[in-house]
Amino acid sequence: MGGHDSPEDIAKETRTYLLVFAALAVLTIVTVSVSYLDMNRSQAIVIALFVATIKGGLVAAFFMHLLSEEKLIYSILALTIVFFIALFALPIGTIADAVGEHFTMEGVQHPGEHAAEEGH
């Protein structure tokens, strides 16, 4: 997006901005309405974040002109996304990680348990 576009181009852009605004307003109403529906938590999270992602995408693509930007900005954002994903994945990985947790396999007796049974 430069500062040397023709008035016609700018008028066309303005119409696009207003359409995006209308879409964002409708999607906000959708987000709030869906939250009142009787759904389980995981469904609600998926729908709310899906709609938020569409809204965020519209803002980034049209208002922040990411549809037609310089390659350098795309490179900066790609690097940011990589670190952003790592920021979420690393802590979540620590929760999903089962190392150090006590678990038993069905039908397998541990030596200690066997000795204890014999003692009785």
Partner: protein, 194 residues
């Protein structure tokens, strides 16, 4: 000595310097808010007894609409400057400032309701992350109000001497403002609706 590349793009980046600067700043902001969102996910998924207080959804919805509207007015103000219509630019930019102020007023009403209900940042994990995220976002709105206010007030003199540079400044603050809107778009469902 004149500061280079305030208007024309640098040949190697294809961008004027302030635009590259604001995008690098926004990248760091993504990490700042990302760290807090990640904290929220960890706190919430790690606590089987998570307490979710009912928040004021109508007020938060109103604030969402206010921020979305301000995103439109800020970009229309930039479009007006590119058309050379300074009067229309001022009208849209003033509307952006008023909407930003309106957002903070609504947020203050909400905070007041929460304090009255005995909900403070130290009440529980949910309130702690709620006040941290919305408070940090509110500080960003205040930052935007300061910059937009400056460009509308004393900073507007630049339009007479260097209109293209001034237009670029408005574009840059616009990018920041859209980011503030973008963060709220994710904060709203995460904190109020889920």
């Amino acid at each position: 000595m004149e500061i280079p590349y305030t208007v024309e793009p640098r040949p190697d980046t294809g961008l004027y310097n302030a635009k590259l600067g604001i995008w690098l700043f926004l990248a760091s902001e993504v990490m700042l808010f990302g760290a807090l969102f990640s904290t929220y996910v960890i706190l919430r998924t790690g606590n089987p007894n998570w307490v979710q207080h009912p928040m004021n959804v109508p007020l938060a919805t109103l604030n969402t609409m206010i921020l979305i509207s301000s995103s439109v007015t800020v970009i229309l103000s930039w479009a007006s400057l590119r058309l050379g219509n300074f009067a229309r630019f001022k009208a849209y930019f003033t509307a952006t400032l008023l909407l930003a102020g309106g957002f903070m007023v609504v947020k203050a009403i909400e905070y007041n309701q929460e304090f009255t209900a005995g909900l403070f940042p130290w009440s529980d994990n949910y309130m702690a992350i709620y006040f941290t995220l919305t408070g940090l976002h509110g500080l960003h709105v205040v930052g935007g109000i300061v910059v937009i206010g400056y460009l509308l007030g004393p900073g507007a003199k630049m339009y007479k001497t260097a209109p293209e540079q001034y237009t670029n400044r408005v574009e840059t603050v616009g990018l920041y403002w859209h980011f503030v809107d973008l963060v709220w778009i994710f904060l709203f469902p995460s904190l109020y609706l889920l």
